[in-house]
Amino acid sequence: MRRESSLIQRIVALAIFILLEIASLYMLRRNAPLQRMWVARAAHGIMGSIGGGTQRIGDYFSLKKLNQQLAEENAELRIQNAMLQEIAHQYKVDTMRYGIQKVRGFTYVPCEIRRISRGKQHNYMILDKGREDGILENSGIITPDGVVGIVEAVSAHYCYALSLQNTDISVSARFGEEGATGLLSWDGYSSNGALLREIPLQFKYEKGDTVYTSGHSLVFPPDIPLGVAGDSRVINGAVNEIKVKLFQDFTALRYVTVAYNNAQKEMGGLIK
C-alpha cells in the first residue's frame, strides 16, 4: 500500500515537473526572440519524432489491411496479365500468318533463318518464307544491326539468299546522311569486317564515322546503320578503300526481315 502511494507520488511529481518545465519554456518563448526560435525548433523536432513514431505504429497495425489490398491488386494484375498475354499471342500468330507490312515503299516480311553457311567465300542462307508468304527475288535481308544478305531464289515456302559474307555481293553505302557513297562488301575473311570501296580521295572522314545504306541500290531501304569506318588505303591513286567494322554479328543470327522495294520492277525497267 505504502509502495503504491509512493509510486503514485512519483508519477504526480514527474507530471508536475514536466508541467513546470513546460511553463518555464513557455515564458522563455514569449519573452526572448532567440529562445523563441530555439524552443520552436525543439518543439518541432519532438513533435516530428512523436508524429513519426505514431505513424510507424499506425502503419504496423494497418499492415493487415494493406496486405489484403495488395492481394486484391495482385489478383487483378494477374487477370490483366493473362489477358495481355492472350492478346500478344494472338498478335504473334497473326504476324506469323500475315506478317507482311508495307512502310515507305518497302514491303517487310519477318523470317527465321533455317540454314546458314559460314567460313566460305560464298556463304548463303535459307529462310523459312517463300513465294506464298510474299517473298520476291532481289529482296534485301536486314536486321536492326544492319544488312545481312539478298534473296537470290524463291520457292513456294522457302527462299535462298546470298549472305553479305559472300564476295559476290555488294551494298550501296554512304557516310552519314549526306556523305560520299561507295560499295560495301565483305572483306573475305573476318566475321564482322567489310570494305567500303570507291570513296573519292577528296572526301574527308573521321575514324568511327557511321556508314549507312544509301538507298540507291533498289534493294535496301536507306539509312540502315551498317558499321563504323576504320583505316583506309588509296587504290590506284584514284579512290579510297576504307575498312568498316560491321554492327551485325553473323555468328548470332536467327531472326531477320526481308525488305522488298515495291518500285523495284518499275525502276528496274527504266534502267534497262
Binding site: Q9, L20, E21, S24, L28, R29, N31, Q35, M37, W38
Partner: protein
C-alpha cells in the same frame, strides 16, 4: 533551525541572488548563482512537489527582478528540486533520508557536501547555459562558461551553506 527560520534565510538569500545578478558581473564567462545550493538545502521534510514549486517560484522571482530572460532560472532550477532527494540519497546515503535529517558539513563531511553542491550546480548550469545560448553559441564558449561558473558557484555556495544548513539544525 525551524522551518520558518529557514524560509526567512531563504528569502534573504533570494534578495542576495538578485543583488548578485544585477550588480556583480565578473565576466561573460562566469554566471554567479547560489540558487542551486538554496534548493538543495530545502529541508528534507519538504516533499519533492512543494520543493519544485518553491524552486519554480524562486527562479521566476529572480528572472522577474534581475536583468535576464524570464523563465530561464525557473527552467534550470526545477530539475535541481526534482532530483534533490535522489542526489542526497546517492551522496549521503539512505540513512539520512530515512531519519529525515538534513545534511550539514559537520555531520556529513566537507567532501560529500562539496560533491552535492557540485552536482546540483552542474545540473543547474548545464540547463541554464544550454537554454541561454539557444544553440547559437560555440561549444568552447559554453564549456568555458560552464567550467568557470561551476568553480565559482561551488566556492560561493560553500560560504552560503552554513547559513542554510547550520550544524545547530542537528
Amino acid at each position: 533551525m525551524k522551518k520558518t527560520g529557514f524560509f526567512a534565510v531563504y528569502l534573504i538569500l533570494v534578495v542576495a541572488q538578485l543583488l548578485l545578478s544585477n550588480y556583480f558581473h565578473l565576466s561573460r564567462y562566469i554566471m554567479l548563482s547560489i540558487l542551486p545550493v538554496m534548493v538543495l538545502c530545502i529541508p528534507l521534510k519538504v516533499d519533492t512537489i512543494p520543493a519544485m514549486i518553491i524552486a519554480f517560484a524562486t527562479g521566476l522571482t529572480v528572472d522577474l527582478f534581475a536583468d535576464g530572460v524570464i523563465g530561464l532560472n525557473a527552467l534550470a532550477l526545477v530539475p535541481v528540486a526534482f532530483g534533490r532527494k535522489e542526489m542526497i540519497r546517492l551522496i549521503f546515503g539512505e540513512d539520512l533520508l530515512s531519519r529525515g535529517e538534513d545534511f550539514s558539513v559537520r555531520r556529513s563531511g566537507l567532501g560529500q557536501v562539496i560533491m552535492a553542491i557540485a552536482i546540483a550546480q552542474a545540473l543547474f548550469l548545464f540547463i541554464y547555459i544550454w537554454a541561454d545560448g539557444a544553440g547559437t553559441r560555440p561549444f568552447w564558449f559554453n564549456f568555458t562558461r560552464f567550467l568557470l561558473s561551476e568553480i565559482v558557484g561551488v566556492l560561493v555556495s560553500l560560504l552560503v551553506i552554513d547559513t542554510l544548513a547550520p550544524d545547530s539544525r542537528k
